[in-house]
C-alpha cells in the first residue's frame, strides 16, 4: 500500500504542476491577484506530494520490497543500509525522481522566500517553474516510472552496480542535481521577465542568490564526482574530459559567467539582455547535460539505461524549452531598456572580459562534446574527442581569464585606472615572478610549463589576498584593519575566497600534472618499491569476506627514512550477485596535500600487479573547489542578497490583511 500511495502522490504532484502551469500565468495576463496567489500554495503542495513519493520509494528500497521493479533491479537484501538508501537514486528511475524532488523543493523555496516579490513576477516565475516540472513529471511517469511493479516478486534483487556502492556516489548525484535544477530558477526568472516585458536591477538581485546557491552545489557536486573517480576507478585520474563530466562542466562555466554578469546588472543596470540570455543558456546546458546522461546517447558509467524512448522524450523537453525560451527571447529582448554605459577599462569591462572568455571556453567544450555525436549522426563517421582537444582549446581560452582575475576586483565601476591597479598589484607580480624562478631552479629538467603554472597560481592566490588586504587597508591602517574586515560586505569575502580557491585549484592541477610519478609493476610478498621519498613493502596478501563481496587485500607498509609512517591496504573486491570485480584503492596523505595512491590489479604468478602513484599537492584540487564553494556560500549570506527585506515585508503583510 505504501508503494502505491507513493505512486499516487507522484500523480497528484503532476496534477498540481498542471494547475500551477496554467492558473497563475492566466492571472498575470488578466491581472487577477487571486489567480496569481494560487502559485505559492500549489508549489508547496507539489513539494509535499513529491516528498511522499520519494519517501515511499526509499521505504521500498530499505525493506527490500522486490515487488517493485526498481528495487529488484538495483537492490539486494544483504546490501549495507547506506547503499540501500543511496541506491534509491543510484539508478535511472530513482535519480529522475530525485531530479523532480529537487525541482519541487526549489519551487517551494521560491514560493517561500519570494513572498515579497512583485505579485505578477512571483506568479510568472512559479508558472514557468511548473512548466519545467510538468515536463519532467510526465517523463518520470511515462518512460521511467520507479513505481512499476512485478507481478511475481522475486526473492532476491540484482544488486546495485558495485562501483556505485560508495559513500562518494551517495552524495554526488544529489549535489549535482541541486546545481542543475537550481539553475532552473534563474531560467524561470528570465522567462518570466520576458513574459512580463520588464526587467531591472531588482530582478538581478532576486536572481543572484538562486544562481549562487545552484553554483555552489554544482561546484561541490563536480568536485565530489571528480574525487570519486579519482579514488574509486583506480586510474589515479581526476578529470577525464569524459562527455558526462563535460555535461556538468558546461552549465558550471555558463553559471559562473551568469554569476558575474548578474553583478553588473544589479550594480550598474547594464548587460540586461546578455544576462537574460545567459540565464536561459545555463539552464539549457543543464537540460542538455541531463539529456546526454539520461538518454544513453553516450555510453559511460553514468548511462544506467539505454532506452531510445527516454532519449526522444528528453530531447523533446530540450527542444521545447530551449527553442521556446530562445524564441520568447528573440521576440521580447528588444523591448528591454538599455542600461548604463561604461568604459572598456572598468569593473564592468573586466566582468565582460570574464563573460567573454567563460562563454568561449564553454562553447569549445560544447563543440568537443557534441561534435562526435553530430558527425556520427550525419556521416556515420566515428571519432572520439579526448583530452588533447580540450587541453588545446580550453587551456588557451582560460589563460587570459586567469591572468585577469586578480585585476578585475581592483578596477572601479564605470571607469577604471589600470595604472593604479598595476601599482597595487606590483608586489604580487614580483612575488609571482619570483615563484616562477624559484620553481624553475628547483625542478630543472622537469616540465617546462610547470614553473609558469606555479607562477600563475601564485598570481591568483596572492592577488585575491592582496585585494582583501587593500579593502581592509591592512597596510595603510593596520590598527583598524580587523574592524574593517568584520564590516566588509559578505559578498566581498565571497569574491576573495572564490578567486583564492581558483588559485589553489590551479596550483593543485599544475603540481599533480607536472610532478606526479607512476609505477606499474608486479609485486610479490616481501618486495619493496621506492616511491618519492617512501619505501613500500608488500607485507602480505589475504582474503576477506565483506557483507556482499569477497575481497583480496594486500597490506603495504610505508616507511620514510626507515620509520613506519603508514600501512596501506588496497583491495580487489568481487561482488557476489553480479560477479563483478572492483578496485579499492588505498590512499595516504602526506605534507597536508600530497598523496600516495595504491591500486591493485590482477594477481600474476604468485604476485600481484600494482599501480602506485605519488601525487604531489593533489588534494589542493578539491580543496580549491571547497574554498570556491565556501566563498559562494558566504556571499549567499550577504544581507543585501537576501530577497527583499523580511522585516519590511512582514509589516506590509500585516497592514494588508485587515484591508482585505
Amino acid at each position: 500500500m505504501i508503494v502505491e500511495v507513493g505512486h499516487y502522490a507522484l500523480v497528484l504532484a503532476l496534477t498540481l504542476a498542471l494547475v500551477q502551469s496554467v492558473v497563475p500565468i492566466w492571472g498575470t495576463r488578466v491581472g487577477d491577484p487571486r489567480l496569481m496567489a494560487v502559485a505559492g500554495p500549489v508549489a508547496w503542495g507539489q513539494f509535499l506530494f513529491v516528498s511522499i513519493a520519494f519517501a515511499a520509494l526509499t521505504w521500498a528500497h530499505v525493506v527490500s520490497d522486490f515487488s517493485v521493479a526498481n528495487v529488484f533491479e538495483n537492490s539486494h537484501s544483504q546490501k549495507p543500509m547506506i547503499y540501500k538508501i543511496s541506491g534509491v537514486w543510484g539508478n535511472h528511475e530513482g535519480s529522475m525522481l530525485l531530479w523532480v524532488s529537487i525541482l519541487s523543493l526549489f519551487g517551494a523555496m521560491v514560493a517561500w522566500f519570494g513572498r515579497n516579490l512583485p505579485k505578477s513576477l512571483y506568479a510568472a516565475v512559479l508558472g514557468v517553474q511548473a512548466w519545467v516540472a510538468t515536463a519532467f513529471y510526465l517523463f518520470v511517469l511515462l518512460t521511467s516510472n520507479p513505481f512499476a511493479r512485478l507481478l511475481r516478486a522475486p526473492m532476491e534483487g540484482r544488486d546495485l552496480n558495485p562501483i556505485l556502492q560508495d559513500p562518494g556516489l551517495a552524495i554526488h548525484p544529489p549535489l549535482l542535481y541541486l546545481g542543475y535544477v537550481g539553475f532552473s530558477i534563474a531560467f524561470s526568472f528570465a522567462v518570466a521577465a520576458l513574459i512580463e516585458g520588464r526587467i531591472d536591477a531588482a530582478w538581478a538581485r532576486w536572481v543572484r542568490p538562486w544562481t549562487l546557491a545552484a553554483w555552489v552545489f554544482l561546484t561541490l557536486g563536480i568536485a565530489m564526482g571528480s574525487y570519486w573517480a579519482y579514488y574509486e576507478l583506480g586510474w589515479g585520474g581526476w578529470w577525464f574530459w569524459d562527455p558526462v563530466e563535460n555535461a556538468s562542466l558546461m552549465p558550471w562555466l555558463a553559471g559562473t559567467a551568469l554569476l558575474h554578469s548578474a553583478i553588473v546588472m544589479e550594480k550598474r543596470d547594464a548587460l540586461k539582455v546578455w544576462t537574460i540570455l545567459l540565464a536561459i543558456l545555463t539552464f539549457s546546458l543543464s537540460l542538455l547535460g541531463t539529456f546526454l546522461v539520461r538518454s544513453g546517447v553516450l555510453t559511460s558509467v553514468h548511462a544506467f539505461a539505454t532506452d531510445p524512448a527516454r532519449g526522444v522524450f528528453i530531447l523533446g523537453i530540450l527542444v521545447v524549452f530551449v527553442g521556446g525560451s530562445l524564441t520568447i527571447f528573440a521576440a521580447r529582448a528588444g523591448t528591454l531598456t538599455k542600461g548604463g554605459l561604461f568604459a572598456p577599462i572598468s569593473r564592468e569591462g573586466a566582468l565582460v572580459f570574464n563573460n567573454l572568455f567563460l562563454t568561449a571556453a564553454c562553447a569549445a567544450v560544447f563543440i568537443g562534446t557534441l561534435y562526435p555525436l553530430l558527425l556520427e549522426a550525419t556521416t556515420g563517421g566515428k571519432i572520439s574527442v579526448g583530452a588533447p582537444f580540450f587541453e588545446m582549446t580550453f587551456g588557451p581560452l582560460m589563460l587570459p581569464l586567469l591572468l585577469a582575475v586578480p585585476i578585475g576586483p581592483f578596477l572601479a565601476w564605470k571607469r577604471g585606472d589600470l595604472l593604479a591597479v598595476a601599482q597595487r598589484l606590483a608586489v604580487v607580480f614580483v612575488l609571482a615572478i619570483a615563484a616562477i624562478l624559484v620553481t624553475w631552479w628547483k625542478t630543472r629538467g622537469g616540465p617546462v610549463l610547470a614553473p609558469l603554472g606555479v607562477g600563475l597560481a601564485m598570481w591568483l592566490t596572492l592577488g585575491a589576498l592582496a585585494e582583501l588586504a587593500f579593502r581592509i587597508k591592512l597596510f595603510s591602517e593596520p590598527g583598524v584593519a580587523l574592524r574593517r574586515a568584520v564590516g566588509l560586505p559578505r559578498s566581498s569575502w565571497g569574491t576573495t575566497l572564490g578567486h583564492l580557491g581558483l588559485g589553489l585549484l590551479l596550483f593543485g592541477v599544475v603540481a599533480e600534472s607536472a610532478w606526479k610519478t607512476e609505477h606499474v609493476l608486479v609485486m610479490k610478498p616481501g618486495d619493496t618499491l621506492q616511491v618519492a621519498r617512501f619505501e613500500l613493502t608488500l607485507a602480505d596478501q589475504r582474503d576477506v569476506a565483506g557483507p556482499n563481496y569477497d575481497a583480496t587485500v594486500a597490506r603495504f607498509v610505508v616507511k620514510e627514512n626507515g620509520r613506519e609512517v603508514a600501512v596501506l591496504e588496497p583491495a580487489k573486491r568481487t561482488y557476489r550477485t553480479r560477479r563483478m570485480p572492483t578496485t579499492e584503492t588505498a590512499i595516504a596523505t602526506f605534507d597536508g596535500f600530497s598523496q600516495l595512491y595504491l591500486a591493485m590489479g590482477e594477481p600474476q604468478g604468485g604476485g600481484v600487479a600494482m599501480r602506485v602513484y605519488w601525487k604531489p599537492m593533489v588534494l589542493l584540487i578539491w580543496i580549491g573547489c571547497l574554498v570556491m564553494s565556501l566563498g559562494g556560500a558566504i556571499s549567499l549570506t550577504d544581507r543585501r542578497l537576501r530577497i527583499g527585506a523580511p522585516t519590511r515585508a512582514r509589516a506590509t503583510a500585516a497592514v494588508a490583511a485587515p484591508a482585505e
Partner: protein, 152 residues
C-alpha cells in the same frame, strides 16, 4: 571615449575572442581527434600505420597472455583479429570474450600498441563503438530492443 567608441571596443574584443576560440577549435579538431576503427578495417589495410586510433571489438577467447606488466591479446570483430600489446593494469572488467576499446597506435608490424584500454563498466554495458563494429560484421543480434553479441 565616445559612446560609440566604447561600444565598438567591446564588440571588437568580443569578436577577437570569438575568432581566437573558433581558430583554436578548428585547429584542434583537425589535429587532436581520434578515429575509431574495427579489426577488419585494420586487417584490410584501410588504415595507414602510425596514426592514433581507437580499436574496438571483443577480446578473443584464449588470446590473453601476460608477461610482467605487459599484456598481449587479440581484438576480434568475428571476422578479423588484431594483436594488441598494452603495458599497465587492465580495467576490472576486462575479460576474454567481452567488449573492449583500445586506444593507441597501429604499428607497421601489424601490432596495435595501446596506451589506454577500456572495458565495459557493468554487465549491461558494451562500448557503443564495439556494438557498431559487431553490427557491421553481422555478429550482433537484436532481441526485444536490447542487443547481445552473438559471440559473447
Amino acid at each position: 571615449m565616445t559612446r560609440k567608441q566604447k561600444r565598438l571596443t567591446i564588440i571588437g574584443l568580443a569578436g577577437a575572442v570569438l575568432a581566437a576560440a573558433i581558430g583554436l577549435v578548428l585547429f584542434a579538431l583537425n589535429d587532436e581527434i581520434t578515429f575509431f576503427t574495427s579489426p577488419t578495417d585494420l586487417a584490410t589495410g584501410h588504415v595507414k600505420p602510425g596514426s592514433r586510433l581507437r580499436l574496438g571489438g571483443l577480446v578473443e577467447a584464449g588470446s590473453v597472455a601476460r608477461e610482467n606488466s605487459t599484456v598481449r591479446f587479440r581484438v576480434t570483430d568475428g571476422v578479423n583479429a588484431v594483436p594488441v600489446t598494452y603495458t599497465g593494469i587492465l580495467p576490472d572488467l576486462f575479460r576474454e570474450g567481452q567488449g573492449t576499446v583500445a586506444e593507441g597506435k597501429f604499428g607497421p608490424d601489424g601490432v596495435f600498441a595501446a596506451d589506454t584500454v577500456l572495458a565495459k563498466h557493468d554487465e549491461k554495458y558494451m562500448p557503443k563503438e564495439v556494438v557498431d563494429a559487431l553490427k557491421k560484421s553481422g555478429h550482433w543480434e537484436e532481441t526485444e530492443g536490447k542487443g547481445y553479441p552473438k559471440g559473447n
